[in-house]
């Protein structure tokens, strides 16, 4: 499992055992999380799954419990892909794709789960800086030879988020974190059947009174397995042989049917 952007992974895993990870804390509290699995396997009966993430807030000063309580934000980011967003316009009575924007290396999957609506957790600047909430993610667009993010109201940006939301790939759950005890929480991350394959980054933020207390990152992997992996690999690497096999399969199926249904 090779994960980018998860610096503390190896060290944390050594220190706490597989699945339990810790970020070096600057303050008293530490955050420990564990996902129900680190590999979501896609086999022939895959229709999507739920990833369960448990977390604990560890405190050095025993009677800690900050008066204001804790807030948790879990952000899951799928593998970065480049997308073209096109807009249809009416031309001679027909709806035709006219204008388009290219979004470069943006998450193909995004889930933001928080214990409260993010607007109540911290200031808008804080939310933007830490990319909390789907709308606060940087979505760089290609502008000429350069690229940059645009204003949040940009119609293509808004449409991109809306389409991804409708596809079930961008989710926001403002009440998605369940506190089992004041320092133990759980959340369920929906992985839909159409989830892109690749590495997913899971970032957990511990926030109190609008300030970041601790951050913890782990990773999961969504991979095709067995037959599905083999088919995808062959289709990509050996297109000609794959095409011949499919064509042969058609001949065999047609021949078998003729043989089975023969009336004489």
């Amino acid at each position: 499992m090779n994960c980018t952007g998860v610096g503390g992974f190896g060290f944390g895993a050594l220190a706490l055992g597989a699945g339990l990870l810790a970020a070096a804390p600057a303050t008293a509290e530490r955050l420990v999380t564990s996902a129900s699995t680190h590999r979501v396997l896609i086999s022939s009966n895959f229709t999507g799954t739920d990833l369960v993430l448990f977390g604990a807030i560890e405190d050095d000063d025993t009677p800690s419990s900050r008066a204001s309580g804790y807030d948790i934000v879990v952000t899951v980011r799928g593998p970065a892909r480049t997308f073209v967003t096109r807009r249809k316009d009416r031309v001679l009575g027909l709806w035709v794709n006219m204008d388009s924007r290219v979004f470069i290396e943006v998450p193909s999957y995004l889930a933001v789960l928080s214990s409260r609506p993010p607007a109540k957790i911290a200031s808008p600047e804080f939310l933007r800086r830490l990319r909390i909430g789907v709308a606060n993610h940087t979505l760089p667009q290609q502008i000429g030879s350069d690229f940059a993010d645009v204003v949040p109201q940009d119609p293509f940006r808004v449409a991109f988020l809306r389409v991804k939301d409708n596809e079930g790939l961008f989710n926001e759950e403002p009440q998605g974190i369940t506190f089992l005890t004041p320092t133990l929480f759980r959340t369920t991350v929906p992985i839909p059947g159409s989830a892109p394959t690749g590495n997913y980054e899971v970032e957990t933020l511990l926030i109190s009174t609008g300030k970041l207390i601790a951050r913890e990152t782990t990773a999961i992997e969504v991979v095709k397995t067995g037959f599905e992996a083999l088919v995808a690999q062959e289709a990509h690497d050996h297109g000609f042989a794959y095409g011949l096999v499919t064509a042969l399969l058609a001949l065999v199926t047609g021949f078998l049917a003729t043989f089975i249904f023969r009336r004489d």
Binding site: V84, N97, G239, A247, L249, A250
Partner: protein, 308 residues
Amino acid sequence: MSIYLPIAELPVNLFLILSLGIAVGFLSGMFGVGGGFLMTPLLILVGIPPAIAVASVPSHMAAASLSGAMSYWRKRLVDVGLGLVLLSGGILGTAFGVWFFAFLLQAGQLDLVVGLFYVILLGIVGGIMLVESVRAMVRAHHGAPPIVRRPGTHAWFHGLPLKLRFRQSRIYVSAIPVTLIGFGIGFFGAIMGVGGGFLLIPALIYLMRVPTTVSVATSLFLTLCTMLIATVLHAVENHTVDIVLALILMIGGVIGAQFGVRAGQAIRAEQLRLLLGLLVVGVAIRVAVDLVAHPEELFSVVATESLR
């Protein structure tokens, strides 16, 4: 019951896809057409990406047409010479079509162009079928003898060089128009995800004056060949052939086709053509509505990796 499609990268309902295969197979067996013009739009309607649908349907048509092609072959109704000349144009047309398909996908105009092709070609062919079958039925009703359309007139293309004699079809024509027809069938077939029988059969009967049974037999033989080639070319060029989707469609298709052939034999020829005409025009209208009606979502998002 759901099954995950490894290339389309989404789960689909196995029974939904299987029944689509059976239904379209039934109609294609009944009318003696490949059925791609129905299957491709239906797959897109149930959420299969167009690139996957167009590339995966040809193998289904190859499987569904094999049985019929073998039976015509045994009856020696296939004009192999005519078929091979058509195929030489067909391979070029298919290759060009697969390339043009990739180009349209890149340019974001695939849906539009495929939609327009559907409306224009299906509208014309379906309209002609409707008019022609209604006339035949009216004539039959009045007890008039059916008009035999083999007047032996010479069209302009009979003056072209490279003349070949096709004994089975009882025609003596230049190879140029035959190759061009083959090219057109291959080209539209690759882009629209259709076999092109609905174009080829009228072209052979009305333009080339080939006898109907030989036209149907040769068309089926050609469909089989071009669809096998299209499968391989799409797999090489676009990597969008989903073998799992294809297999489900094939199994449904060959089962449906067997029953369709029996149903087709129970109906009179002009009624069959009327039904097929209605079906073809219906699909054309459905596609036309999609092009003209205000879409619910004006924006679409495509990953650029999937363009290749």
